[in-house]
C-alpha cells in the first residue's frame, strides 16, 4: 500500500496531464482539461515547498559545520548570514527592498556572470587536452568549431566574408539536423522512461531501488 498507491497516484496524474493536452476541446471531456490545469498549478505550490526543503537541508548542513567549529566554518557563517538576510528581507519587505536589491545587483548578478564567464577558460583548456585530431570525425568537429568561432568573432569577417556565411549555414542546416535527431531520440527516451514509471518498473523516485 505504501508503495503501490503512490505509483497509482503518479500514473493517474501524469495521464490526466497528457490527456489534457491531446483531447479535443469538447464539453464531455472538459473535466480532463480543467483537472490538468488545476494539477499543473498545484505543481507550482508543491515545488515551492520542495524548494524550502532544499533550503532547510542547506541550513542544517552549515549550522552543523558552525556548531562543530569545522576548519571551514567561516565560509558556512558567510553562507548562513547572506542566506538569512536575503530570506528575511525578501519575505518581510519584498524584493523591492533597497538592501535586497543591492545584494542582488552587486553580488548575485556579477558573481553569476563571472562564474559563467570563467567557464570559458576551462572549456578552452579541456578542448586543448582532449581535441586530438586523429580521425576524420575529430577533424570535422575541430574544423566546424573553428569556422563557427571565426564566423561569430569580428576577426572572422575581417579575414574573409566566407566565415560568417559558413557559420550561419552550419548552424542552420547540419547543426539543426544533428540536434533535431538528438531531440527526437531524447523524446522517445522520455516516453519510454514514463511508461516504465507507469508500469511500476522504475520506482527510484520513491527512494525504492528494486
Amino acid at each position: 500500500m505504501k508503495t503501490y498507491l503512490p505509483v497509482l497516484i503518479m500514473t493517474v496524474i501524469a495521464l490526466l496531464i497528457i490527456l489534457d493536452f491531446f483531447v479535443a476541446d469538447a464539453p464531455s471531456v472538459q473535466w480532463i482539461k480543467s483537472s490538468g490545469l488545476v494539477l499543473r498549478s498545484w505543481g507550482i505550490v508543491i515545488a515551492a515547498f520542495a524548494m524550502g526543503l532544499g533550503a532547510v537541508n542547506l541550513l542544517r548542513r552549515h549550522t552543523v559545520a558552525v556548531s562543530r567549529r569545522e576548519p571551514e566554518a567561516f565560509y558556512s557563517v558567510l553562507l548562513l548570514g547572506s542566506m538569512l538576510v536575503v530570506m528575511v528581507l525578501g519575505i518581510a519587505s519584498g524584493t523591492d527592498n533597497p538592501t535586497y536589491s543591492f545584494l542582488f545587483n552587486n553580488i548575485l548578478s556579477p558573481a553569476s556572470a563571472t562564474m559563467y564567464a570563467s567557464i570559458a577558460f576551462y572549456i578552452v583548456t579541456a578542448a586543448y587536452r582532449s581535441f586530438s585530431a586523429k580521425s576524420l570525425e575529430s577533424w570535422v568537429l575541430l574544423i566546424t568549431a573553428v569556422i563557427v568561432m571565426l564566423g561569430k568573432a569580428p576577426i572572422g569577417s575581417v579575414i574573409s566574408d566566407i566565415f560568417p556565411k559558413a557559420a550561419d549555414w552550419i548552424q542552420a542546416i547540419p547543426n539543426t539536423a544533428g540536434m533535431r535527431a538528438i531531440v527526437m531520440g531524447a523524446a522517445l527516451g522520455v516516453v519510454s522512461s514514463a511508461v516504465k514509471m507507469f508500469l511500476g518498473l522504475d520506482r527510484t523516485y520513491l527512494g525504492l531501488h528494486d
Binding site: 499543473r40 532544499g54 533550503a55 553562507l79 530570506m87 569556422i147 544533428g178 540536434m179 520513491l206
Partner: protein, 198 residues
C-alpha cells in the same frame, strides 16, 4: 575610478571569482559561499511568493479552499525528517513526479517529436532537402536494433559526420557565448569600476 560603493562590491566579487582560474583561494571561497547563500535565499523568497500568490491569496480572498490540498501535500514533504512517518513524503513526491512526467511527456510527444518531424518534411529548397537527408542520416546512426550493412551503411556514416558538425557548432557557440560574458566582465572591471578603459 568609480566612487559608487555597489560597483566596488561588484568589482571585488568579480575579481574574487575570476581568481579561481589561477587557483582556489580564500577570496574565491568567500565569494562562492556568498553567491550560494544569496542564491538560496532568493530561491526561498521566490518560492514563498509562489505559495502566497498561487495558493494563499485565492484561499483567503476568494475562499478557494481547494488550495488546502497542494499546501497540505507540500507540508507532508517535511515528514521525511521524522523516521517513523518518513514514508508519507512519498505521496507529495508521487504527485510532483506525476505532474513533471505528464508535462515532460506531452512536451516530448508534441514539441520534440511530431513538430520536429513536421518541420523536417516540409521541403521547399535545396537546404530543406539537405536538412531532411541529414536528419534521416543522423537518426539512422542511432538505430541499434539491426546492423546496417551493404550500400546503406554509408547513411549512418554520414549521420555520424553530421552529428560531429553539430557538436563542433555547439562547442564553438558555447565558447563564443562564454567569451562574450568574459569580455563583459573585463569591460566592467576596467571600464565601469577602474575607469581605465572607455
Amino acid at each position: 575610478m568609480s566612487l559608487d560603493f555597489g560597483i566596488w562590491v561588484a568589482g571585488l566579487v568579480t575579481l574574487a571569482i575570476i581568481s579561481h582560474v589561477w587557483k582556489e583561494n580564500p577570496l574565491y571561497r568567500s565569494a562562492e559561499h556568498l553567491y550560494v547563500g544569496i542564491s538560496a535565499g532568493h530561491a526561498v523568497v521566490v518560492a514563498w511568493g509562489n505559495i502566497r500568490d498561487t495558493a494563499a491569496k485565492p484561499m483567503q480572498e476568494e475562499g478557494q479552499l481547494i488550495w488546502i490540498i497542494p499546501i497540505l501535500l507540500g507540508v507532508l514533504l517535511y515528514t521525511r525528517y521524522f523516521k517513523k512517518i518518513a514514508w508519507v513524503a512519498r505521496y507529495p513526491i508521487a504527485v510532483m513526479v506525476g505532474i513533471g512526467t505528464g508535462v515532460a511527456v506531452r512536451g516530448a510527444i508534441h514539441g520534440d517529436f511530431t513538430q520536429q518531424i513536421a518541420a523536417t518534411v516540409s521541403v521547399g529548397s535545396v537546404n530543406d532537402i539537405l536538412l531532411l537527408v541529414f536528419v534521416i542520416a543522423s537518426l539512422s546512426y542511432f538505430f541499434f536494433s539491426k546492423e546496417i550493412k551493404g550500400p546503406l551503411s554509408s547513411v549512418p556514416q554520414l549521420g555520424k559526420l553530421v552529428l560531429m558538425v553539430a557538436f563542433g557548432a555547439a562547442f564553438g557557440t558555447t565558447v563564443m557565448g562564454r567569451m562574450a560574458l568574459l569580455i563583459g566582465r573585463i569591460q566592467f572591471v576596467l571600464g565601469d569600476w577602474l575607469g581605465i578603459m572607455k
